[in-house]
C-alpha cells in the first residue's frame, strides 16, 4: 500500500483544496475511484459550476443535488453530487424553523432569496453542512469534498462562533440588538448608519433584510449547535485535508495560503498532490546517436528531462516555503497529453496516484 493510500484508508472525510485549474476535481474523483476499488462506499461532493466532475465521471446528464451512483469497477461504490447551495440552505431553514409558518416566511423573503445565497461564506458553510449530513448518511463510509477554487473555500474552518455566517454577520449584529429578553430588531429610521446604507443600496433591500432577520429570530441556537457539530467533525481524526497544486508558482502560492489557513485552525495537511507534472521517460543513451533521426529524439528526451528537473526542483523549493512539514507525503502526478473527461482517463489518473 502506498503512503497516499495508507493516509486515506482510515479517513471518513477527505477535503481537497487548491486553486483553480490544477485538477482538483479530477483528483477528488480519482480518490473516489480508489475508494470504490478497495471496497468502500464513497461519495464525492463538488461545487464546481463548470460541471467538470460530471464530465470527468462521464455522466452525460450532469450531476444534481442528490447523490448519483456511478458505474465504476470494484467491490465498493462511487456516488457523486453537485452541491446546490440554495436547496441546501432551504433545507436547513426548514429543519431549524419552529414551525412551517416561520420557514415559509423566511423562504419567501426577498433578502433571503436574492442575497442570502451570495453573502460571503454561505456557499462554504452549506458545503460543510452537506458534508456533515453525508457523513451521517448510512449509505456512505467516505465523503470526498472538491472545494470551490477560491480563497474563501476554507471559510467554514473559522471558529464555531463564526461558522454560521448569518448569526455573526455584521449586518445581523447591527440590526439585532441583544437585550435581556433576546434579540430585538432596531428601528432603521433612528440609526444614521443604517439610513446611510439604505441610501447606497436602496431602502427596499434594507427593509427586506430587517424582515429576514426578524423571521430568523429564535433559530440561531439550532444553527449554532449544528455549526459546532460540523467543526467537531472537521477536527476529528477521521478527516483529512489534501492540498492539490500544479508545478507552477501561482498554484503553490495558493497552496501556501490554504496550508496557513489550516494551520491557524489547528488542522494539518495530510497529503499533497502535484498534478500536471512533466513526465519522466527514463535515461537517454550514454552518447548522442549519430543518425539524424535518433539525434533528434535524443535532443527531445534530454530537453524534456531538463524541463522536468527544473520544474521539480523549483516546485519542491516553492513547496518547502508553504509551511507544510517535509514529511507530509507528496505525490507528483505526470500530466496526460489530453484532457481528463472520461472514466478511462480518470482510471489512468487513479493508477498514477495510487499505483
Amino acid at each position: 500500500m502506498t503512503t497516499l493510500a495508507a493516509h486515506l484508508a482510515a479517513a471518513e472525510v477527505v477535503i481537497c483544496c487548491g486553486s483553480g485549474g490544477v485538477g482538483k476535481t479530477t483528483t477528488a474523483a480519482a480518490l473516489g475511484l480508489e475508494a470504490a476499488r478497495s471496497g468502500r462506499r464513497a461519495v464525492v461532493i463538488t461545487i464546481d459550476p463548470a460541471k467538470r466532475l460530471a464530465d470527468a465521471l462521464g455522466v452525460p446528464g450532469g450531476l444534481g443535488n442528490d447523490p448519483l451512483r456511478l458505474d465504476v469497477p470494484g467491490n465498493g461504490e462511487l456516488w457523486a453530487l453537485m452541491l446546490d447551495t440554495a436547496t441546501t440552505f432551504d433545507g436547513l431553514v426548514r429543519s431549524n424553523a419552529a414551525d412551517a409558518e416561520q420557514a415559509e416566511r423566511i423562504l419567501a423573503n426577498g433578502f433571503y432569496r436574492n442575497v442570502a445565497g451570495s453573502l460571503s461564506g454561505t456557499q462554504e458553510y452549506m458545503a460543510a453542512e452537506r458534508l456533515h449530513a453525508l457523513h451521517l448518511d448510512p449509505r456512505f463510509d467516505l465523503v470526498i469534498v472538491d472545494t470551490p477554487p477560491t480563497r474563501s473555500a476554507l471559510d467554514f474552518l473559522d471558529a464555531p462562533g463564526t461558522i454560521s455566517r448569518f448569526i455573526d454577520h455584521p449586518l445581523f449584529k447591527l440590526l439585532m440588538m441583544p437585550t435581556r429578553r433576546g434579540l430585538k430588531v432596531l428601528n432603521i429610521a433612528t440609526q444614521p448608519l443604517l439610513r446611510t446604507i439604505g441610501k447606497v443600496v436602496g431602502g427596499d433591500v434594507l427593509a427586506d433584510a430587517v424582515a429576514f432577520f426578524q423571521a430568523f429570530a429564535g433559530m440561531e441556537t439550532g444553527f449554532r449547535s449544528r455549526a459546532e457539530d460540523v467543526m467537531a467533525l472537521l477536527h476529528s481524526d477521521v478527516t483529512r485535508f489534501v492540498l492539490v497544486a500544479s508545478p507552477r508558482e501561482d498554484t503553490i502560492e495558493e497552496a501556501r495560503y490554504f496550508a496557513k489557513r489550516l494551520h491557524q485552525t489547528d488542522l494539518e495537511v495530510a497529503a499533497i498532490v502535484v498534478n500536471r507534472c512533466t513526465p519522466e521517460f527514463g535515461e537517454p543513451p550514454a552518447k548522442r546517436p549519430k543518425p539524424a533521426a535518433q539525434a533528434v529524439l535524443y535532443d527531445n528526451l534530454v530537453e524534456l528531462r531538463a524541463n522536468a528537473a527544473t520544474e521539480r526542483h523549483q516546485a519542491a523549493a516553492l513547496l518547502s516555503t508553504t509551511g507544510v512539514p517535509r514529511d507530509v507525503h507528496t505525490t507528483w502526478v505526470p500530466t496526460l497529453p489530453g484532457d481528463v473527461h472520461t472514466l478511462a482517463a480518470l482510471a489512468t489518473i487513479r493508477t498514477l496516484l495510487f499505483g
Binding site: S19, G20, G21, V22, P49, A50, D55, F111, N114, V115, S118, L119, S120, P149, H169, P170, L171, L174, L193, I197, K199, V200, V201, G202, V205, L206, A209, S246, P247, R248, E249, D250, T251, E253, T278, P279, F281, G282, E283, P284, P285, P291, A293, Q294, V296, L297, N300, L301, L304, A306, N307, T310, E311, Q314, A315, L318, P337, G338, D339, H341
Partner: protein
C-alpha cells in the same frame, strides 16, 4: 482556418483599456505581463491593474506601474468621494461594506469599472491593462454596468454605471483579451465566454491568446525501439503537439478572432527573462 497574423502595435493601441480574462490557471497573469512588456517596448505609457489581490506582476514587471485594485477599497473610495466620508471608516472596519456590496449585487463591480474608467480618462496612460478576474466573474463584472442601470434608475451609481457602459461599448476605449489553454475544457469555456461577452455585454473582443502551446514538427518516433525512453518521450511530444495544433485550429473554427499563440514555458517559476522571450514571440525584435 489558419489564424490571422496579429500586428501587436495595432491591437495594443486600438483601445486604451484592455481587460485580460480567462478561467483560473490559464495564465492570465503571464499574458498580462507579456502584453505589458510588448507595449513598453513600443514606447507606450502602460499602467497594469491587478484585481483580486494576488500580487505577482510587480516582480515580473519591475519597471512598470502596477496598481492593486480591490473591490472593497474601490467601494470605500467611492463612498468617501460621494459625501459619505463620515461613515466610510466604520463601514470598512465593521465589515458592513461587504454587506453593502452583497446586498446590492454589482455595486462593487461598478465602482471597480468606475475606477478603471477614471484612470483611462486621466490621460496619463496609452494602455491600461487589467489582469482580470476569472471568466465567470468577468461576465458579471462587465455586465454590472448594464444591470446597475436598470436596478438603480437615478443617483450617483446610475451615473457611474452609464459612464462605465459607454466605455465598454466603445471599441476605441476598451477591449477584452481572452486567454485560454490549448485543451478542450478551457477552450470551450473561452468560446462560451466570448459569446456571452459579445451578446450580453457588447464589449469589443481583441485577439484571443492561446497560452502554453507546444508547437513544432512531428518527431521521427519510429527511429527508436518501441517502449524505449527515446521513443516514449517522442510519442508524448508528438501527441501533445498534435493536440495543441488541433486545439488552435478548432478554436479558429469556433471563434472568428485573431489568435496570439504563446509557447509553453518550462519550469515552475516564471521570470522576467521568460516574459521577455514571450514578448519576442508576440513582437519579434
Amino acid at each position: 482556418m489558419p489564424p490571422k497574423r496579429v500586428d501587436p502595435l495595432q491591437f495594443l493601441t486600438s483601445s486604451t483599456v484592455a481587460i485580460v480574462a480567462g478561467k483560473g490557471g490559464v495564465g492570465k497573469t503571464t499574458v498580462t505581463a507579456v502584453l505589458a512588456r510588448a507595449a513598453i517596448r513600443r514606447g507606450l505609457r502602460v499602467l497594469v491593474i491587478e484585481l483580486d489581490g494576488k500580487p505577482a506582476l510587480s516582480r515580473l514587471l519591475p519597471d512598470v506601474e502596477v496598481l492593486q485594485l480591490s473591490a472593497t477599497a474601490a467601494l470605500a473610495e467611492y463612498l468617501d468621494t460621494h459625501g459619505l466620508s463620515l461613515v466610510t471608516k466604520r463601514l470598512v472596519s465593521s465589515g458592513i461594506i461587504d454587506v453593502v456590496a452583497t446586498a446590492s449585487p454589482g455595486i462593487d463591480d461598478i465602482v471597480v469599472l468606475g475606477k478603471i474608467r477614471q484612470l483611462e480618462q486621466s490621460g496619463r496612460y496609452d494602455l491600461v491593462l487589467v489582469d482580470g478576474p476569472a471568466a465567470g466573474h468577468a461576465i458579471t463584472l462587465l455586465m454590472s454596468a448594464k444591470s446597475m442601470r436598470t436596478t438603480m434608475r437615478s443617483g450617483p451609481i446610475n451615473a457611474q454605471a452609464a459612464d462605465a457602459a459607454a466605455m465598454l461599448a466603445d471599441p476605441t476605449r476598451c477591449q477584452v483579451i481572452l486567454v485560454t489553454l490549448p485543451e478542450t475544457t478551457p477552450m470551450n469555456e473561452a468560446v462560451e465566454t466570448a459569446f456571452a461577452l459579445e451578446d450580453r455585454v457588447g464589449v469589443h473582443l481583441g485577439p484571443i491568446v492561446v497560452n502554453g502551446v507546444d508547437a513544432g514538427p512531428a518527431l521521427p518516433a519510429d527511429a527508436a525501439p518501441v517502449g524505449s525512453p527515446l521513443r516514449v518521450a517522442a510519442e508524448f511530444r508528438n501527441t501533445r503537439r498534435l493536440l495543441h495544433e488541433a486545439a488552435c485550429r478548432d478554436l479558429g473554427d469556433m471563434l472568428a478572432l485573431p489568435q496570439i499563440v504563446l509557447s509553453h514555458v518550462p519550469g515552475a517559476r516564471l521570470d522576467t527573462a521568460s516574459v521577455e522571450a514571450l514578448a519576442d514571440e508576440l513582437d519579434p525584435r
